[in-house]
C-alpha cells in the first residue's frame, strides 16, 4: 500500500488537489485551516479559554450544523414532495410507507428543525449571559436576532407542507394573527379604509382568503428557497462578523485551531447526529388526517415555539398577543446591546451567589444583576407560557392538568368582566407612572409619592369591583354588580373570597376587612415602588432619558403581561380598557 501512496502523492493530480502534506507540524496545522475553503472561516489560532465546552456549550456551532442537516435532509425530501393539495399528503404517506428510509428522512428533518429552534434560543441565552453582545459586537447580536426570527419562520412555513390537519390548523392560528394586525389586518384595530379580507396582511401571507393550494406553493417556496436564501446571507454576515469583531473571550494562551477547535466541533456535530438519529428511529414525526377546512380539531395548537403566543391570546386581544407583543419582543431583543451600557461581564459567565432580599434567599449574579434577571425572566416566561399552552390546555382551550385526561363533554363556565374604562385607565396610568423617576425637586416626597401611587392602583382595581354595575346586566348576566357576578363565579378566587367575606360575616365585618385588604395591597405596591425607586434613579443616571424610557417601557410591558395574567386568573378581569369602536382592548 505504502509505495502506491508514495507514488500517488508525487502525481500532478494529487499535488493539484492537496497543496500541503499532512504531517503534524505547526506549519501544516496552519495550512489546514487557511488552505481549506470550508475551514478558513476559523482563525488559525484561538484563545484556549474560548474553546472550552463550558463557555459556549457549542450552541452556535450546533445551530449552524443543524441548519446544514436541514438543508441536506430537506433537499432529499424535495425529491419526493409535490406542493399541491391533492398530492402533498399522499407524498408524505409514501415517504412513511413506501420509500426506503423515507420515514427516517422525514423524522430527521422534523426533529432537527425542533432541535435547531432550541439550540438557536440557547445560543442567544448564552451570548446574553456571557455579555458577548456588548461593544463591539452589538450589530452581530441584531443579526442573530434576525436569524432567530428567520429560524422560527422557516419552521413555521415548513409546518404546513405535510398538509394534514395538524399543519393546516397550526398555520391557521398563525395566519389569523396576521389578520389582526393593526391597520393592515382586516380584523385588526385602526383598519385602513381600503383593507378587506382580500388584500390584508393575512391575504399576503397565505395568498388567498382561505388556506389552499396558493398557500401551499407560497409556503413551499418560502420554506425551500426564499427564506433559506436570506437566512444564508445573514448567516454569512453573522459568521464573518464573529471573526471581524473578534471572539468574545480572549483569555488563555493561544492554541492551534486545527486540531483543538476543529476536533471539538467535529465531536459535537457527531454527538448531535447520534442524538438526532436515535430520536428519529424511536419517534415518528406526527401526521394526522388529511387537511380539511370544514372540520377543526379541538384544540388546534400552533407549533410549540408559537404556543406561548397562542396562550397569550387568552389574556390579550389577537392584535396585541399576535402582532404587538411579538414585534416588541423582537425589537426589544435587538435594542438590548444599544441600551445596555454596562461595560462589565464580557467573556465570562457571571458568578452566582446566594443573597437575601427582604428575607428571601435569592440566587443572584454578582455582576449585571438587573440585566440578567430581566432577560432570564423573559426567557422563563416564554417557556412557561409554552408549557401551559402545550400541556395544560385541552378542548376549547380549557385548563387541564398534564395528568388529566381531556374531555369534549366537560362544561366549564368562565365569568369574565371588564373594569369600567375610567378605573381601568387609572390603574394602567398608575402602573406606568411607577416607571417614571421621581424629579429631583420632589425627592423628599419620594416615599409618600410611591405609597400614594400604590394606594391609587389598589383603589383603582378594588373600588370598581365593589361598586361598578355589571355592564352585561340584564342581557346576559344574572347579577347586578361586578362584585356579585365575579363573587359568584368559580374563576375569580380573590373576588369570590371577598364576596364570601361579606356574605358570611355581614357588611359590617366584610367591608372593613376588604378596606383593610385594599390598604394592605396599596401599601405593599407602594413599598415595592420605594424599593424600586433607588433602582430607577440609578438607571436614569446611567442611561439618560431616551435609553431609560426604552428600557423602562419594555420592562413595564413585560411585567404588565404577568400582571394581566394574574388579574385574569385571580380577579376574573377581562379588560382594563376597552374601546370596541377601535377594536382596542387591553
Amino acid at each position: 500500500m505504502m509505495p502506491v501512496k508514495q507514488y500517488l502523492k508525487k502525481t500532478k493530480v494529487w499535488k493539484s488537489i492537496f497543496r500541503h502534506d499532512f504531517t503534524d507540524t505547526p506549519r501544516t496545522r496552519l495550512l489546514r485551516v487557511f488552505g481549506n475553503v470550508f475551514l478558513h472561516l476559523h482563525p488559525v489560532r484561538i484563545a484556549k479559554d474560548a474553546i472550552r465546552v463550558t463557555y459556549t456549550w457549542g450552541q452556535g456551532g450546533l445551530s449552524f450544523y443543524l441548519f446544514l442537516v436541514l438543508i441536506v435532509t430537506g433537499i432529499l425530501l424535495m425529491f419526493y414532495y409535490r406542493p399541491a393539495s391533492s398530492l402533498a399528503y399522499r407524498d408524505i404517506k409514501d415517504l412513511s410507507f413506501a420509500l426506503t428510509l423515507g420515514q427516517l428522512l422525514r423524522n430527521m428533518h422534523r426533529w432537527a428543525a425542533h432541535l435547531m429552534v432550541v439550540t438557536v434560543i440557547f445560543h442567544m441565552v448564552r451570548v446574553f449571559l456571557t455579555g458577548a453582545y456588548k461593544p463591539p459586537r452589538e450589530y452581530n447580536w441584531v443579526v442573530g436576532v434576525l436569524l432567530l426570527v428567520m429560524t422560527l419562520f422557516l419552521s413555521y412555513t415548513g409546518y404546513l407542507l405535510p398538509w394534514d390537519q395538524l399543519a393546516l390548523w397550526a398555520v391557521t392560528v398563525g395566519a389569523q394573527m396576521a389578520a389582526n394586525s393593526p391597520m393592515l389586518g382586516s380584523e385588526g384595530p385602526f383598519r385602513l379604509p381600503f383593507i378587506t379580507t382580500s388584500n390584508d396582511a393575512r391575504f399576503g401571507l397565505i395568498g388567498g382568503t382561505v388556506i389552499g393550494d396558493a398557500t401551499l406553493i407560497r409556503f413551499y417556496v418560502l420554506h425551500c428557497i426564499a427564506v433559506p436564501f436570506i437566512f444564508s446571507v445573514f448567516l454569512c454576515v453573522h459568521l464573518w462578523r464573529v471573526r471581524k469583531d473578534s471572539f468574545s473571550k480572549q483569555t488563555g494562551e493561544k492554541v492551534d485551531v486545527w486540531p483543538h477547535l476543529i476536533s471539538r466541533e467535529f465531536l459535537a456535530a457527531l454527538l448531535i447526529t447520534v442524538i438526532l438519529f436515535v430520536w428519529s428511529i424511536v419517534m415518528n414525526a406526527p401526521l394526522e388526517a388529511e387537511a380539511n377546512l370544514n372540520v377543526t380539531p379541538n384544540p388546534s395548537k400552533a407549533p410549540w415555539y408559537f404556543v406561548g403566543l397562542q396562550e397569550l391570546l387568552v389574556y390579550f386581544d389577537p392584535w396585541i398577543a399576535g402582532v404587538v407583543l411579538p414585534t416588541l419582543i423582537i425589537v426589544g431583543l435587538m435594542a438590548i446591546p444599544y441600551v445596555d451600557t454596562n461595560p462589565k461581564g464580557i467573556g465570562y459567565w457571571a458568578r452566582m451567589r446566594w443573597r437575601r432580599i427582604g428575607g428571601l434567599p435569592v440566587w443572584y449574579p454578582e455582576e449585571r444583576p438587573l440585566a440578567v434577571s430581566v432577560f432570564m425572566l423573559g426567557i422563563v416566561m416564554w417557556f412557561v407560557l409554552i408549557f401551559i399552552g402545550t400541556y395544560c390546555r385541552g378542548p376549547n382551550w380549557e385548563w387541564y392538568w398534564p395528568w388529566e385526561p381531556w374531555s369534549h363533554r366537560r362544561i366549564a363556565k368562565l365569568t369574565l368582566k371588564s373594569l369600567p374604562n375610567l378605573w381601568g385607565g387609572l390603574l394602567l396610568a398608575g402602573y406606568f407612572l411607577f416607571g417614571v423617576p421621581v424629579p429631583a425637586k420632589a425627592k423628599r416626597f419620594s416615599g409618600a409619592l410611591h405609597l400614594g401611587l400604590g394606594l391609587l392602583m389598589s383603589a383603582a382595581l378594588f373600588v370598581p369591583l365593589l361598586i361598578a354595575p355589571d355592564a352585561d346586566y340584564p342581557l346576559r348576566s344574572r347579577s347586578q354588580t361586578l362584585f356579585e357576578a365575579l363573587g359568584r363565579s368559580t374563576n375569580a378566587p380573590v373576588v369570590a373570597g371577598m364576596y364570601q367575606l361579606v356574605q358570611r360575616g355581614g357588611p359590617w365585618i366584610g367591608y372593613p376587612l376588604i378596606a383593610g385588604l385594599i390598604g394592605l395591597v396599596g401599601l405593599a405596591l407602594g413599598w415595592m415602588g420605594t424599593r424600586f425607586a433607588r433602582l430607577k434613579d440609578r438607571l436614569y443616571e446611567g442611561l439618560g432619558p431616551l435609553k431609560y424610557a426604552i428600557v423602562m417601557a419594555l420592562l413595564l410591558m413585560m411585567m404588565g403581561v404577568l400582571g394581566k395574567i394574574a388579574l385574569r386568573l385571580l380577579f376574573g378581569l377581562k379588560y382594563l380598557l376597552s374601546l370596541p369602536a377601535f377594536n382596542f382592548n387591553i
Binding site: 410507507f97 465531536l267 454527538l271 447520534v274 438519529f277 388526517a289
Partner: protein, 400 residues
Amino acid sequence: MKRVLFLLFTWSLAALFAVAIWRDTDREWTRTQRRFFKTLAKGERRGLSPGIKQLIISDLDRVDRCTTCHLAVDKPQLALAEEPFTAHPGQILQSHPPEKFGCTVCHGGQGLATEAEAAHGDVKHWEEPLLRGPLVQASCARCHGDVQAIAAHAPLAIEGEALFRAKGCYGCHAVRDFGQTVSQDLTAIGSKSYLLMEADFEMMDPPHDRIQWLTSKLRHPRRLNPGVRPEHLPPGEEEVFPSAMPRFGLADDEVRALAVYLLSLTEFNPPVSYTTPAAPPAPAPVYSSAEARGQAVFERFGCAGCHGSGGLGGRHNWNGGLGQEIPSLLHVKAYYGQDIESLKELIRRGRQPVPRADPARPRTLLYMPAWADRIAEEDLDALVAYLLSLSDRLPQAASE
C-alpha cells in the same frame, strides 16, 4: 479522551445507520412476502417478484398497496387457506377487475399503507375503516344506481334501506333530496369526520371508528348523548336533554343492515364510467282504497319515526306536553272527526313550538314539521282518511 469519544460516536453512528437500514429491509410486508414465497414451488414463482405491489387507479385517485401482502387475491391457483394469502371469494373480481377498481374503493382502509394495522385503518387519524365481512356491501350503492339489480350480492344494503324507510327515519332525517330537517342531514353520514364524533367517542367502547359509532348510535342513541342535568352544570346554565332520537329496539342484524345503508351514504363521487344508472321510476301503485293510499303516504314520509308504527305512539319527547310523549294517532277521530280541515291545517303547518310540560325547562327537541310543500293535497286527503281509520284499532266499548 477525544479519541475515545471519536471512536464511540462514529461507531454508534455506523451502528445506528445499520439499524435503520435493517429496520427498513426487514419490514412487516417483507416478512409476509417471504412467508408466502416459501410455500410456492419453483415453477409457481415465475412472474412473481418481491417488493411493494401497488394498483394505481388514477380515475379514482387512489393507490392501493394491499396486494403487497394479499399476494394471491387475484391468483386462486396460488391461494392458501390462511390470511392474507387467500383468493378473493366469489366471482366479483371478474366484473370488477382490480386494475380498474383497486381494493379500497370497496373495502375501505388505507391503501397507501404497507403495515397491516395502518392499512386496515385501525390507527388514529385514518377515517376510512376497513369494511369487514358483510359491511363491504355498503360500497355497492356508491356506484350502482340500482342496487335492486344486484340484490343477490348486497342483501344487507337493500334491507338497510328498507328498514330506514320502515322505521320512519325520513320523518326527521333527510338523505339527498328526500326527508325532513328536524334532525341531521344524513346525505354524507358515511364520511362524517371523526373530529365531530369526539364527544361521542368518550361514551363508547373502542374501536373509535365510524362503524362502531353508527352501531352504538342505532342500538341506543341516548347512551352516546345522555344530556346534562342542571345539577351537573354551572349555576344558571340551561339543562341539556338527552338525544331526542327514539330507541327503536333494533335487533343486531337490523343494526348491521342499517349501518351498511348509512355507511353507503358518502361524499364519494365516482366517475361516470364507474356508475350504473338508477332504476327507472316504478309505476305509480294502484291502491284499493283511500285508507291504503293514506297508509302508504304515512309510511313514505316517515311519520312512524315519531308517532310509532301504525300511529301507535309511545315515543318520548323531552319536556313535551301530553306526558312528554309524542301523541299517538289512535284518537285522531275523536279529536278531529268533526273538523277535518283543522287536522289538515295542522299537518300542513306542523306544530312549532310544541307545548312544554314544564315551561321552565328548555323547549322540546322534536316537533311536528310543516308538510305543506311535501305532501300533495290528494295524498293529504288519503292520509287523513287513513288517520281517521286508525281508531278502529282501539278496543270497542263492551256495551256496543
